[in-house]
C-alpha cells in the first residue's frame, strides 16, 4: 500500500498506515458516506455544515466538502472551530497557542453540524468541541467524521464516519500529514520512544 517512496526527513521507527493515494481514496469514501447518511440533495434533507477542528481537521473539512460537491453537486458551507479554550488539560501543558475559529455565514443554528478531525483518540478534543459548539449556537444535530480512529477512548464518544480504524498501543503515536499543513499526504504510525 506504500506507494510513496520513504521521505528522508521522516525518522526511522515509523510505519506508513495510509499513503497519499490512500488518503485521497479514504476522503472520497467518507464523502460518499456523508451524502448517503444525510440524504444530501433530497428535498427534505437538513442543511449540513462541515466544521474542521484545527490544525488538520480544517483542511480535511475543506477536502471533504470538495469531494461531496463533486459527487452530489451540493456545496456545503465549511468552517473552522478551535477548541483550545474549552480543553480540560490546559493546566497540564505549556501554553497552547489558540487556533482560528471561523464559523460559516449563517452560523450553526438548526443545522446538521459535522465535526471533522484527523485522529480520534481519547475523545477529549471532541468533548471540548461539543462545548465550544454549544457556545456558538444550537445545531439541529452533531455528527463526527475522522480520518483515523485509533481507539483508547476515555469518554463515551464515537465517530459517525471513520476513514480508517487503526488498533494502536498507547506507546504509539499517529501522525496525519496533509499537503496543506505539511507539504505531503500520509498517515504514519510511530513508536513514542523514537520521538526526539
Amino acid at each position: 500500500m506504500a506507494s510513496r517512496p520513504r521521505d528522508a526527513a521522516e525518522p526511522a521507527g515509523q510505519r506508513e498506515l495510509l499513503s497519499a493515494g490512500d488518503v485521497a481514496r479514504t476522503v472520497a469514501r467518507m464523502a460518499h458516506q456523508v451524502i448517503e447518511r444525510t440524504t444530501l440533495g433530497a428535498p427534505d434533507s437538513p442543511p449540513v455544515v462541515l466544521l474542521g477542528i484545527p490544525t488538520r481537521g480544517a483542511p480535511l473539512a475543506v477536502r471533504l466538502a470538495a469531494r461531496i460537491a463533486e459527487f452530489s453537486g451540493v456545496d456545503l458551507p465549511t468552517g473552522v472551530l478551535d477548541v483550545t479554550l474549552y480543553r480540560d488539560d490546559l493546566r497540564r501543558r505549556p501554553t497552547r497557542p489558540l487556533g482560528t475559529t471561523q464559523l460559516p455565514t449563517g452560523g450553526v443554528d438548526d443545522r446538521l453540524v459535522i465535526l471533522v478531525d484527523d485522529v480520534l483518540y481519547s475523545g477529549r478534543t471532541i468533548r471540548a468541541a461539543l462545548d465550544a459548539l454549544r457556545d456558538a449556537g444550537r445545531p439541529r444535530a452533531v455528527q463526527l467524521a475522522v480520518l483515523v480512529d485509533r481507539g483508547h477512548r476515555e469518554l463515551p464518544i464515537r465517530a459517525d464516519y471513520v476513514g480508517k480504524n487503526v488498533p494502536t498501543s498507547r506507546s504509539e503515536e499517529v501522525h496525519v500529514r496533509l499537503v496543506e499543513t505539511d507539504g505531503h499526504d500520509a498517515v504514519l504510525l510511530q513508536r513514542k520512544e523514537e520521538q526526539a
Binding site: 493546566r91 501543558r93 489558540l98 482560528t100
Partner: protein, 310 residues
C-alpha cells in the same frame, strides 16, 4: 509567562504570541450572543487599584469574567489600605485568600515589581496595571493590537508619541514594545516634558509636531497629567495646545492611512481636538474594545498552563 510587569525586555516572540491570542479571542467572540469562555473556571483574579481608573479596571474585570475567572475588586479606599496596611501585607493577604493573579495599579514606580517578588513563592501571578511613571504594559499591548488591526505588521512602521512623555507610563511601555516589534518611534514633546536620559532610549526626539506628522503611520496623543505636575512645565494650556495639540488642521498633515490613538482619558480641546477624536481616523474606541481581548490574552498566558518549575 509568570508575571506581566513591563514591556521593557519583552521579546517580539512573546509579544506576538499574546497579540495573536488576543486576535483569536476577538474572532472567537465576534457576533456571539454568549460572550463567556470556560477557560479560567475556578481561577481567582483580584484587582487592587491604589489610583483612580475607569477603563483599565473595568477592562480587566470584564476580561476575567468573560474567561470565567472569579474576579474580585479591591480599591484602596474602603479596604485595609486606608487603615495603613502596607502593600506587602495586603499582597500576602490576597495570596493567602487564594488569589491566582493580582492585578495592581499603584502610584509608585516599581510597585508591581516589588509585589511580584513577594508573591512568586505563593505561586500568584502579578500584572502591572500601571505603576507611577514607569510602565503600563497592557496599554501598550492593546495599542499594538489596534495598530496591527489598522496597519498590519508593525515592522518598519513609524509611530509618533506626542505630549507629556515625562509623566507617561503609557509612553514608556509603548516605546519598548513598539521597538521590539520592529517599529520606529519618534517622541514629540516640549523639552520640559521629556524625561532625562531620553537620549539613551531607542527613539528619535522632535519638538515640531508639524514636521513629524507627514512622516508617520500612527500618532499617539498623550494626556497632559496635571495631577503629576508640580510646577510650570509649559506657559499655558492654550500655548501647549497650539504647539502640541492634534487639531483638525494638523489631521490633514497625516498620510491618508495614518491612525490616531489616545490611551484615554482624553482632554478634548487640550491635546486633541474634539472633531479629531471623533473622526474615523481615530481608533480610540477600538483601543478600548481591544483592551478587553488583550487582557483576556494576558490572563490566558499567565494562568492557563502547567505550573512552571521555579
Amino acid at each position: 509567562m509568570r508575571h506581566l510587569l513591563a514591556t521593557e525586555g519583552m521579546d517580539a516572540a512573546t509579544a506576538t504570541a499574546v497579540l495573536d491570542t488576543a486576535d483569536q479571542l476577538k474572532a472567537t467572540l465576534l457576533g456571539r450572543e454568549v460572550r463567556k469562555l470556560p477557560t479560567l473556571r475556578g481561577r481567582t483574579v483580584v484587582t487592587v487599584f491604589y489610583e483612580a481608573s475607569t477603563r483599565t479596571r473595568v477592562s480587566f474585570e470584564i476580561a476575567g469574567k468573560w474567561m470565567s475567572a472569579d474576579v474580585v475588586n479591591v480599591s484602596a479606599s474602603g479596604s485595609s489600605v486606608g487603615k495603613g496596611e502596607s502593600l506587602r501585607d495586603t499582597a500576602l493577604t490576597l495570596a493567602a485568600a487564594g488569589a491566582d493573579c493580582v492585578i495592581v495599579r499603584h502610584p509608585a514606580s516599581g510597585a508591581a515589581h516589588r509585589l511580584a517578588g513577594w508573591l512568586t513563592e505563593a505561586g500568584t501571578s502579578v500584572v502591572n496595571a500601571g505603576d507611577g511613571m514607569h510602565e503600563h504594559p497592557t496599554q501598550a499591548l492593546l495599542d499594538a493590537a489596534t495598530l496591527r488591526e489598522r496597519l498590519g505588521a508593525l515592522d518598519g512602521r513609524r509611530v509618533a508619541i506626542v505630549g507629556d512623555v515625562l509623566h507617561s507610563r503609557v509612553a514608556r511601555s509603548n516605546v519598548h514594545l513598539l521597538t521590539a516589534l520592529g517599529a520606529e518611534v519618534v517622541l514629540v514633546a516640549p523639552p520640559t516634558l521629556l524625561p532625562s536620559g531620553v537620549d539613551r532610549w531607542p527613539v528619535t526626539v522632535s519638538h515640531s509636531l508639524d514636521a513629524v506628522l507627514p512622516t508617520v503611520d500612527a500618532v499617539m496623543m498623550l494626556r497632559v497629567q496635571a495631577e503629576r505636575m508640580h510646577g510650570g512645565y509649559f506657559p499655558s494650556a492654550r500655548e501647549y495646545s497650539i504647539a502640541y495639540g492634534l487639531s483638525e488642521a494638523r489631521l490633514g498633515l497625516l498620510p491618508e492611512h495614518a491612525v490616531v490613538l489616545h490611551p484615554g482619558p482624553m482632554l478634548r480641546g487640550m491635546e486633541i481636538a474634539s472633531a479629531v477624536a471623533d473622526s474615523p481616523r481615530a481608533a480610540i474606541t477600538e483601543q478600548v474594545a481591544n483592551g478587553v481581548h488583550v487582557r483576556m490574552a494576558v490572563l490566558y498566558h499567565l494562568l492557563a498552563h502547567e505550573e512552571e518549575m521555579a
